[in-house]
């Protein structure tokens, strides 16, 4: 074969350092057909190959081949990826893009030195707060005082003047919902009626504080479906945000803790209402593939039992004793439910079974809203652009109720609704709606 490309005759040393990296077995499946391009939110916005899935994979390969440095340009384009995995849905070759980007970010986290401030903030958030329940609760309480005391209302406009971006970000801060769901850890809830299943509820870290009500609703909905709901006390953060940020060792530590907290054989299912958590819980084995320790075995057993709450309900003959709720509603697919877990029909089927509820399909429902974990904070500009497009689509539906199935998405969508043409539109988790329909039926 003649080699006509520039500078490709001499194979250079790989630009990757030790540790997990994008592997040939996975990236060689990409045949650069480009069918992923228009599915990628950042490509749709920017129209450049560097910010497309095909282009990102190509850059990963170039780093491996020594044609591109593990430097600023590479990091910039990897950072801008939402890890929404819409490209996996579009890909005919079955490229596991999530695996590749997460490995690339692992390389960046270990071998690339970010500017000081960003590094310090990342470390504080990922290492000092998220993994520690007590510190998390303390931070949650601080935030709640700030939100309820009126300081927030004062601080907001000032922040916006000084630093417009900070204003945007501040409005994304989750509302703290007391009582925190952390108080429920260690509790077992009895089923309503005869016991059919014994399930464990995965409570989540931030979700336990900011989505306490959705967690309560989830437990009640499960109980209404014959589930004895155990909420293991020793569980913690799932590590999804760590995986997305490339902090693989930290993610592994968190995974080990959860594998201990949910021993195999104790439950029919481990249930989560957070698509982002569910997707990483289902992918725990990837974290232990290289070491191949006993944890790999445990992770495989654990993963086989993890279910999103909508997936679990749709998989059993769910209780349809719903009261009628007359509302025009639409549903936004969380990327980590639709793309990563391929669960699309379950939430829709559940919603259609609620009498009175008119489900209008949202155009581009499979396109990311811009939330993407902490992306709306770290890449606020792009996140805002995506949110604007999303809100335009939501307006087209004329729905009064916007539903989704992941806390991160709900936060983002609420922020979008608050500044949209219809700020009174409600934003809820699918299970909260189901819970309401059960509760109204029981009076």
């Amino acid at each position: 074969m003649q080699m006509e490309g520039e500078g490709r005759a001499v194979p250079a040393a790989s630009g990757y350092g030790p540790g997990e990296k994008p592997e040939w077995d996975y990236y060689s499946k990409c045949i650069h057909c480009g069918l992923c391009l228009n599915a990628c939110p950042t490509y749709r916005e920017l129209g450049v190959e560097m910010d497309s899935p095909r282009g990102r994979i190509y850059q990963m390969i170039q780093v491996e081949q020594g044609r591109l440095a593990l430097g600023e340009s590479f990091v910039r384009h990897m950072d801008l990826c939402l890890d929404c995995r819409a490209c996996e849905t579009a890909c005919p070759s079955g490229v596991e893009y999530g695996r590749l980007i997460e490995a690339a970010r692992g390389q960046i986290a270990t071998h690339f030195r970010r500017p000081m401030l960003g590094r310090a903030l990342r470390s504080l958030f990922f290492r000092q707060i998220l993994p520690h329940r007590k510190r998390l609760i303390f931070a949650g309480q601080l935030l709640r005082v700030y939100q309820r005391s009126g300081i927030e209302r004062l601080a907001w406009p000032i922040a916006r003047i000084i630093l417009p971006r900070l204003g945007n970000v501040a409005r994304l801060a989750p509302r703290m919902e007391k009582p925190f769901f952390t108080e429920r850890l260690g509790v077992t809830m009895e089923p309503v009626g005869p016991r059919k299943y014994r399930v464990a509820l995965f409570a989540g870290c931030i979700a336990s504080l900011a989505f306490a009500r959705a967690n309560e609703a989830t437990a009640r909905v499960l109980a209404m479906n014959g589930c004895e709901v155990v909420i293991p006390a020793s569980q913690g953060c799932c590590g999804a945000l760590h995986v997305h940020a490339g902090l693989r060792d930290e993610a592994r530590q968190l995974a080990r803790r959860n594998l201990e907290a949910f021993p195999p054989g104790d439950f029919d299912a481990v249930i989560t209402n957070a698509a982002g958590c569910g997707s990483v819980l289902k992918e725990y084995p990837q974290l232990f593939e290289r070491e191949g320790t006993e944890y790999l075995e445990r992770a495989l057993l654990f993963t086989a039992r993890v279910r999103d709450v909508t997936e679990f309900l749709a998989g059993i003959e769910w209780n349809r004793d719903f009261a009628s709720i007359t509302v025009r509603a639409t549903y936004q697919d969380p990327c980590h439910l639709g793309h990563a877990q391929r669960i699309r029909s379950a939430p829709r089927r559940l919603l259609r079974s609620v009498p009175g509820l008119e489900l209008v399909e949202l155009k581009d429902a499979e396109v990311c809203c811009g939330s993407a974990g902490i992306y709306n904070v770290s890449e606020n500009d792009m996140a805002e652009r995506l949110l604007e497009s999303k809100m335009r689509r939501v307006d087209e539906t004329g729905a009064e109720l916007l539903l989704s199935a992941n806390p991160g998405c709900l936060l983002q969508l609420r922020a979008g609704v608050a500044q949209s043409s219809n700020p009174r539109r409600r934003v809820s988790h699918v299970v909260e709606l189901l819970d309401e329909a059960y509760r109204r039926a029981r009076g």
Binding site: I31, G34, Y58, S93
Partner: protein, 455 residues
């Protein structure tokens, strides 16, 4: 405009292969921007290479001698939708499927439907004169494009055609569609929109022998029926697709035909009966009908994802694109099988069988250079046979850098000389997309591309 090497690097490939890194990449938003870029390139004496989504399979968007790549990714506005006149005006970067989706609520669509339609652009379709499964009944892109706005090599802007069917003078629109970016830069396209048919029925006919499937194709068209689409996939391809898409294709069969009939409700019912009868008379083991829109979409999703799906069974593969008269399908398939055997290569087959457009898929591992060389020889042999049988060396993927040296197989020296003269009127000094379409004379009669790409 992108200048940094780490960005330009990402514009060295398209759907076919990698070639050269461009000197710059430009992202115009308007016709005026395009004019400026052309003038700049002209001043700097560097070539201009148009790029849509870079999904093409003949290397139309890759760079051969350096120059400026003009990406139309940011010129993606639908400028006008004129339903009463069944027309739309679009910028070249509009994604093919996005146009159909935009008019689907009012019952219309844009007919050309290449497999890459969810990503490829209409500008790219115009450049390559793209086809798709529904070419059989409705023709290729040129049959759905009525007018163009084109920036010429000196920056002047011309308009060809318009909203009406026929305009006096030479058919420049027809000349430019399919010219692969070698005549100018298209900045606006007037297309025809087509009403969606009242009824569509999709059948899957399953065969134990490939021969029976190919004979059915000729029998259906000989019977005076023109299905909207008539596709064939052989066993190798089927199994890969099924693993990727779970479309419900039978894993143990030798070939299937995917047949779509559309039109008025009653007529469709009759045609479906007739088609099913013909399939059964030609030893179809089973004929399934899609019972719902979901089932229909699933059958098509399998077909449209076919090329990518092969990534699962082979590290690399080379998609060929040739045309033969459909009555010669049985003989051609035998020939392809013989070529595969001779070179020890696995070759899958997926055809737009109705119009005799073949896509043999030659599988290999790019890390094995001997095998890779054999692939090119085998592909050349298949192309030569297509030409011998009175067909063509490309049905819809275009010539690009892939097949320009094969052009003499189907054109006489006089034919080619005339094309060259016409080209030079628009493109005097190898300014637009050099080294594409016409033979460069460096090598003749063989494929001289670098297949594989990717890893």
């Amino acid at each position: 405009m992108l200048w940094r090497p780490e960005d330009r690097l990402l514009y060295e490939y398209d759907g076919l292969s990698s070639r050269r890194v461009p000197d710059a990449v430009a992202f115009p938003r308007s016709t005026e921007d395009v004019t400026e870029i052309v003038k700049l390139a002209r001043r700097e004496k560097v070539p201009v290479i148009a790029r849509g989504a870079g999904t093409g399979l003949s290397g139309g968007a890759v760079v051969t001698e350096g120059g400026i790549v003009v990406s139309f990714a940011r010129m993606k506005k639908i400028l006008e939708i004129d339903i009463p006149n069944q027309r739309a005006r679009v910028q070249p970067g509009v994604v093919n499927l996005d146009l159909s989706l935009a008019v689907s609520d009012v019952g219309f669509y844009f007919v050309p439907d290449p497999s890459s339609q969810k990503a490829c652009t209409i500008g790219g379709n115009v450049a390559e004169n793209s086809g798709g499964p529904h070419t059989l009944a409705y023709g290729v892109t040129t049959n759905h494009v009525l007018g163009l706005e084109v920036v010429l090599d000196d920056g002047r802007v011309i308009r060809t055609g318009g909203k009406v069917w026929d305009r006096p003078g030479y058919d420049l629109t027809g000349f430019i569609v399919g010219s692969e970016g070698t005549l100018g830069l298209v900045t606006e396209i007037t297309v025809r929109l087509t009403p969606k048919p009242e009824a569509v029925k999709t059948l899957l006919a399953i065969y134990e022998r490939v021969l029976d499937a190919t004979r059915t194709v000729a029998a259906i068209t000989a019977g005076g029926i023109t299905p909207a689409a008539l596709e064939m996939m052989d066993g190798i391809t089927l199994r890969a697709i099924e693993a990727a898409t779970h479309a419900g294709y039978p894993l143990d069969s030798a070939a299937v035909l995917l047949i779509e009939v559309e039109g008025l409700r009653e007529a469709v019912e009759e045609e479906v009966e007739a088609v099913e009868g013909i399939c059964r008379r030609h030893a179809a083991r089973e004929v399934r009908r899609a019972r719902s829109e979901e089932e229909r979409e699933l059958l098509w999703r399998g077909r449209k994802n076919a090329f990518g799906a092969l990534g699962r069974i082979s590290p690399n593969f080379y998609v060929q694109d040739g045309v033969i008269p459909r009555t010669r399908l049985p003989a051609m398939l035998e020939y392809i099988a013989a070529v595969g055997e001779k070179h020890g290569l696995l070759i899958g087959n997926i055809f737009h069988a109705g119009d005799g457009n073949l896509h043999p898929l030659l599988m290999f591992d790019a890390r094995d250079s001997k095998q890779t060389a054999k692939v090119l020889v085998a592909a050349s042999e298949i192309m030569a046979r297509c030409a011998d049988l009175g067909g063509s060396i490309t049905g819809e993927h275009g010539v690009g850098i892939e097949k320009n040296e094969l052009m003499p197989l189907i054109f006489s020296p006089d034919d080619l000389a005339m094309m060259r003269r016409l080209k030079e009127v628009f493109n005097p000094a190898g300014f637009f997309n050099p080294g594409k379409v016409l033979p460069t004379g460096k090598m003749c009669g063989e494929l001289r591309i670098q297949v594989g790409g990717g890893a």
